[in-house]
Point group: C2
Chain length 168, copies 2
């Protein structure tokens, strides 16, 4: 066969390149996961919070859920197990950040709300630390970069959720 001048060394469309890239992507995602928990918790440790508790306060502080969220809804929203969330909420109740009351409309359900103290810690103390953390980590990200990263994370998350719910 005659070589018509194709660049036979270009393997960018080969499956092995894709595999290698995927390998690196998931390895870095794994490292990011650990570093997020480590540096995030350190950013709010003076407030007695962790990255996970920060996520919960972030969820509860939204305008849409001013009356609080049920354990089940919160678990679904955060994508964690009910049992994991129970531990988290227990520690946060112990620390006075949240309170849990029975839902008057559905007495099976228990509603988690931020306490006055929790709101103060969140808005006054933690928010400035969190903004500083964002700016440090995303220092050389343009608005466009942030948007693109968010888009890719959402795509990955969607695929993982589909995988989680079952390949049936």
């Amino acid at each position: 066969m005659i070589d018509l001048g194709e660049d036979v060394t270009d393997r960018s469309t080969e499956p092995s390149v894709r595999l290698e890239l995927a390998n690196r992507l998931f390895f870095r995602l794994y490292q990011c996961a650990n570093m997020l928990h480590k540096t995030g918790s350190r950013a709010v440790e003076a407030e007695g919070l962790t990255t996970q508790q920060w996520a919960i306060l972030g969820a509860l502080s939204r305008q849409e859920v001013q009356r609080g969220m049920s354990i089940g809804d919160l678990a679904k929203y955060l994508m964690v197990s009910r049992q994991n969330l129970a531990g988290l909420i227990g520690r946060m109740e112990r620390d006075g950040h949240v309170s849990i009351v029975t839902d008057s409309r559905d007495r099976r359900s228990r509603i988690v709300t931020m306490t006055k103290s929790g709101r103060r810690v969140w808005h006054i103390q933690a928010q400035p630390k969190i903004r500083a953390y964002y700016e440090e980590v995303l220092a050389d990200f343009s608005i466009n970069d942030v948007t693109h990263t968010l888009h890719y994370l959402l795509k990955i998350l969607g695929a993982m959720q589909r995988l989680d719910r079952g390949p049936d």
Copy 2:
């Protein structure tokens, strides 16, 4: 003042937009972290592995480290604490995936290598599952998408490492 036609409703360059985007980005990263551990571990659970053990076998199976890696180097490579790694390695030794021997050149150092059984599990059993996992999660990612995502993860990781090592 005369309105010269500027779109005064465009707040895309306002700090609040950037803050809101950063909030979403880190929230999704937090969810991705949990879902990676959950779906990743499920992908290799038939092999008795977890996402973390997969990362270790991935590190040890590289051509560059055929003679194994020390505990310290492995911890640095994976960005986890020595104590965390010790537990992981202990469980993997218990399961026969790795073995640990004293380094003859530096008798303080202990070298972790994959056992024959570990290599078989990794290459024959786990690899196909992992490739399938990659393809499911990155199904609608082009090579370009994967490259960009990897690039953003590396930038985030770099910033987090700088933050971790100290703001001095």
